[in-house]
Amino acid sequence: MVMKKNASPRRVTEEKAASAEEVRAAIDGLSEAQLIRFRRYADRKIKGLGRRGLGRDHMDLLQEAITSTLAGDRHWNKTVDFSQHLLGAMRSIASNWAKKVDLAEARLESELIYQNGEGEEVNPLASVPALNPSPERQASVKQQFEEIQKLLAGDQVALDVFGGLRAEMTGADIQGALGISKTEYETTVKRIYRRARVILG
């Protein structure tokens, strides 16, 4: 199954909005592979939020996708496959959760910044060590990255894609920079995952 990003429109006309009965019927019609894909997608999206997930788990994301569909915050346009809609809703919800934390942190920090007597901006948070993640956690992540790199040794495309992802490049940018096709990029990311999963847990 292939899905385009942001395939699920947030607003559709009322006559196209789905009822609870229609959503329930759509859930009943999902295949085992689709359901497992949701669970795995949600799990990885939550891990992709890191501490911005605020302790939520994959079930929270799945449930929110259903709830927001029924509440009309994310209408399901029935011309779009329900599976695609749900994945799009989860992507959008995860992105909003991340943005909210980023904004709150930025606001908090901006409220604390002041000008000293010499007109210079002082950020009290800049001198405060972050409580989370801990140095131990950071050391662990660093070690994980090193181990993944060792496992990818000899697979130059995988190493390059891994480097691009760590540099927070988009998939399209990585493809462009490495001159690889979308299919090759996707296959490589899956290859990285299969090798990295034992390390990342």
Binding site: D28, I36, R52, T67, A71, L165
Partner: protein
């Protein structure tokens, strides 16, 4: 957060996000194979997810029902708590309702005829309840002050 610490955390997040998007592009066979490789029973996992999704629909509907009931109760309470200047004595309240019905026969039809009830069979509580509802609808305001009986 210190830049290096933040970057490592962000790098890890970016990696997981790419892994998430990669599964969107995976075929059904790949998804099922991956689950088996990681020791999952695909059938059992799928059932669990389906059940959780169904529960979400059920919870949403229950919450909606609860909210609707709460709203109904709130409005009913509001109607009964609103201070209408009704006559103090039951006889006067009965006279007032009779006046309303004589002035607006449609009200009598709606409240009594449709329910196959006779005016004389109404209890004092019925009368008070009807007057409060009529007050809520603004009917009593059209008649003027309860005490002056429209005169």
């Amino acid at each position: 957060m210190e830049p290096e610490r933040q970057n490592l955390e962000k790098e890890l997040c970016a990696l997981w996000d790419a892994f998430a998007e990669s599964i969107v592009e995976s075929s059904d066979e790949e998804v099922l194979a991956e689950a088996r490789e990681e020791g999952e029973d695909p059938h059992e996992t799928a059932q669990r997810v389906r059940s959780a999704l169904r529960d979400s629909v059920k919870s949403f509907q229950k919450r909606r029902l609860y909210e609707a009931e709460q709203e109904y109760q709130r409005r009913i309470t509001e109607i009964y708590e609103r201070q209408h200047r009704l006559p103090a004595a039951p006889e006067q309240r009965r006279e007032l309702l009779s006046l309303v019905f004589s002035r607006i026969p449609a009200m009598q039809a709606a409240l009594l005829t449709a329910q196959h009830r006779e005016f004389s069979s109404l209890t004092d509580e019925d009368i008070e309840s009807y007057l409060k509802q009529l007050g809520e609808l603004g009917v009593l305001d059209q008649l003027g002050e309860p005490g002056d009986k429209g005169q």
